[in-house]
């Protein structure tokens, strides 16, 4: 029996099913899945068409952290907490914006939960509205491109740093382009007692405007340009970073996506491109990405 799929309703070429299946396989199926609203819930839990081979609960957009905390506490009270890991799967909208309150509470009380955020950089389920995970300059339906404003204003929130600031034992970022690395991180996270946070970059074919076959390549380019550094924190200390032999210019990552296409034509596009390159350079300096 598969732990996740086949037959779910995700678009051809969608990134996050790779991460979900990888995470459950890394934990040998000993998972109680908690899911907040988002694409994952829609594609996997249609009535009478359950995709999950593990226990699964969906509640609301904002309370995945609280639901997971409740399940973990109940398992502890029944003295059965060694039998399975409580794992939250939430999108970036549920993690960065709507659910950050309950997530923060869960981390504050240090519940023994692995929180996995699949980051597709906007509310892709409802049709590409901007979230706090959207990078600057990206076109979404709520940040349309006009004469005065080329896409989103403002930077992407660094959620891994926010998780680290809660003094949790483990926080990491991963990418679906490196599934073995992601699975190792999930396994490593399961060894700690307390709240764990893993953020996995998962491209969205419709929202980002890419062809399904480019999913893995785009995710890899995000890492190789330095815009999505793969880092690992244990007890607040940076323990591991994926080094890059030759850091690529950010244009290589941006030019194959429709959401950034306007940057190469718009008169203010040059500033945004410079800003994105600066973010990549800052990441490289902060984490020491250049080998």
């Amino acid at each position: 029996m598969n732990y996740f799929g086949p037959g779910h309703g995700a678009c051809p070429g969608c990134g996050f099913p790779i991460a979900i299946r990888g995470a459950i396989e890394a934990l040998d199926g000993k998972v109680i899945a908690v899911n907040s609203t988002g694409c994952l819930e829609i594609v996997s839990s249609m009535y009478g068409r359950n995709t999950w081979g593990v226990p699964y609960i969906h509640s609301l957009f904002e309370n995945a952290g609280a639901v997971a905390a409740g399940i973990e506490t109940a398992l502890k009270a029944l003295k059965r907490d060694k039998e399975a890991h409580v794992v939250v799967f939430a999108g970036d909208g549920a993690t960065f914006d709507i659910g950050i309150g309950t997530l923060s509470g869960m981390m504050d009380r240090d519940h023994n939960v692995i929180y996995i955020c699949y980051d597709n950089e906007a509310y892709q389920n409802t049709g590409n509205q901007q979230s706090m995970a959207t990078p600057p300059g990206a076109r979404t339906t709520t940040t349309p491109v006009g004469k005065l404003q080329p896409g989103k204003i403002g930077k992407k929130k660094d959620m891994v740093e926010i998780a680290v600031a809660h003094n949790i034992p483990y926080a990491a970022s991963a990418s679906i382009a490196y599934p073995k690395d992601f699975q190792r991180k999930v396994k490593r996270a399961s060894e700690f007692e307390g709240s764990k946070y893993i953020q996995v970059h998962a491209p969205c074919v419709t929202g980002w405007g890419i062809d399904g076959k480019l999913t893995v390549e785009v995710a890899r380019l995000a890492v190789e340009t330095g815009l999505y550094p793969l880092v690992e924190y244990e007890h607040g200390k940076l323990v591991k970073v994926r080094k890059l032999k030759q850091r690529k210019p950010v244009e290589e990552y941006l030019k194959i996506q429709r959401r950034f296409r306007h940057l190469f034509k718009h008169e203010m596009g040059k500033d945004i491109l410079d800003q994105l390159q600066r973010i990549a350079d800052e990441n490289a300096e902060k984490y020491g990405l250049d080998a």
Partner: protein, 97 residues
Amino acid sequence: MAKMKLYIGASNPPMSSEMKTGDWGTELAYIDKEKCIACGQCITFCPEPATSMVEEDDKKYAVVNHDYCKGCWICFTVCPVDAIEMRTKDIYKVEVC
């Protein structure tokens, strides 16, 4: 007091396998079993999963279940030995005069 019974690590069998998503795409993946080196890359990366490993006469190779292959080309791009071919379905081979 009635004892509450909790089943951990098990649930109803997934019912989504009744959804044959193989008719979504215009192409299907075919794996050349002579070229396949059984590295498992296509199985790790398949979002469905529609690929699986089979063993036959001491040779391991991957196969695609065409009931669920959505034709997304991901396996085609990650295959290190170019053993995967994407073939257009017969119904989409329309001759334009």
